[in-house]
């Protein structure tokens, strides 16, 4: 029997965050410039498996993907049963900075997708000095609710099945089947109400349309990459966002959907490599 052992290392860290001890899972591979990867709503760091496994990236970058609390292999905090999960801009920013500081990362690059692409804009606006560059995937300043998220956490609907059905549609039509269904599987595994709780940030609390002009790309370069087939954050949404941020670099990725790094790692990395090269040579 032959097996291939990937070069990804997974570890847990325990840290105090919001006055409670958290147990956070993170994976990493490579060496060099820290590249912190932020997964989409209701999923986890496995979405970045293609990035973590690509020697063209890990040669120059220390790629780190952590699971947000309540997601993937990160636990919810002690006492979670006494409240509902709801992600806010402040908490999301805080956990990212906390993890970066705990790992003693020196001005990392932050790359986030969807909610991660939204918080990337918040980071660029409020914490530019702490990051070498920001890469927003499927990044927009706001998304109007277009379906009732109550159904994502409802006793009459299977949470894993409905979250998967929502996510499945956001994958581009030409994504390789193996990666499409891996991406969907992550959504099937989310905890009850977690996707919905993340969407509170995405559709309600995280709206920064009125503050985009505060982003100064001379302090921290901003790259926005969006898949052509995404209808949650459409190319038009990203272009509209970028138009309000002088100096932002935009790329629309043909054929890709809402989860570029997970639904088609090879296709996405072709778009990412020039960006990472440019950041490394700045």
């Amino acid at each position: 029997m032959r097996a291939t052992i990937e070069s990804i290392t997974g570890r847990y860290m325990r840290l105090d965050y919001k006055g409670r001890e958290h147990r956070i899972y993170f994976e990493e591979a490579g060496q060099g410039i820290p590249l912190v990867c932020l997964h989409t709503a209701g999923s986890d760091g496995r979405q970045f498996r293609g990035i973590l496994n690509d020697p063209r990236i890990t040669r120059d970058y220390r790629v780190i993907a952590f699971d947000l609390p309540w997601h993937g292999k990160s636990s919810p905090p002690v006492g979670w049963q006494d409240g509902d999960y709801q992600l806010t801009s402040a908490d999301y920013t805080d956990i990212i900075l906390t993890v970066c500081r705990a790992l003693e990362l020196d001005r990392p690059v932050a790359m986030g997708c969807s909610i991660g692409g939204r918080i990337a804009l918040h980071l660029a606006m409020e914490h530019a000095e702490e990051f070498r560059a920001i890469v927003g995937l499927q990044s927009s300043a706001h998304v109007h609710p277009y379906y009732d998220t109550t159904w994502l956490h409802h006793p009459d609907v299977h949470g894993g099945e409905v979250c998967a059905a929502i996510a499945a549609g956001l994958v581009g039509p030409n994504a390789p089947d193996a990666h499409r269904w891996e991406t969907v599987w992550h959504y099937m595994q989310g905890g009850p109400g977690i996707f919905k709780g993340d969407l509170y940030f995405y559709k309600v609390d995280g709206d920064i349309r009125h503050r985009l002009s505060e982003i100064d790309t001379s302090r921290c370069p901003l790259y926005l990459l969006t898949g052509e087939y995404d209808y949650s954050c459409s190319p038009a949404d990203t272009l509209e966002t970028a138009a309000c941020i002088p100096g932002a670099t935009v790329s629309i990725m043909p054929g890709l959907g809402h989860f570029p790094m997970s639904e088609d790692p090879e296709g996405f990395i072709a778009h990412l490599l020039p960006v990472l090269s440019e950041i490394a040579h700045r």
């Binding site: 277009y146 379906y147 009732d148 159904w151 409802h154 009459d156 609907v157 299977h158 099945e161 409905v162 998967a164 059905a165 929502i166 499945a168 549609g169 956001l170 581009g172 039509p173 030409n174 052509e228 087939y229 209808y231 949650s232 459409s234 190319p235």
Partner: protein, 127 residues
């Protein structure tokens, strides 16, 4: 006007797909489909399409309904739909698709219903 498939062929297309029928095995309902001014009642029995009737109807009863302009659905049914048209929720996001009725069985069987609708799509041409 873009060509579009015959909704009356749904029983043949869906019932031949064992995996799809299995996915819908807990769904027994009547789905109303309005394509522009054309109406259909699609009877689903444990994931199998038992019957498709084409309107007009007098006092129809149905469980949940999907309504969409004909042109938007014609794009959805293209072998490779253009961006914004490749999924039912893409049509919902555009404001083209309207949902009505009891949405609990619709949401509980969302992947099944998406695939039932997509089964009318012509296969992609292979090189």
């Amino acid at each position: 006007m873009m060509p579009r498939p015959d909704v009356l062929s749904l029983p043949e297309l869906v019932n031949a797909n064992e995996r799809l029928v299995h996915r819908g095995r807990f769904l027994t309902a009547v789905m109303r489909l309005d394509i522009g001014a054309e109406a259909y009642l699609i009877s689903i029995d444990h994931g199998r399409i038992a019957e498709v009737r084409k309107g007009p109807f007098v006092m129809p009863s149905w469980t949940f309904g999907l309504s969409c302009p004909a042109d938007a659905l014609a794009r959805f049914w293209q072998p490779l739909p253009p961006p914004g048209f490749h999924d039912l929720f893409a049509l919902l996001r555009r404001g083209d698709l309207t949902l009505s009725g009891n949405l609990q069985p619709f949401m509980a069987n969302l992947l099944y219903i998406k695939d039932v609708m997509a089964s009318l799509r012509s296969p992609k041409e292979t090189a």
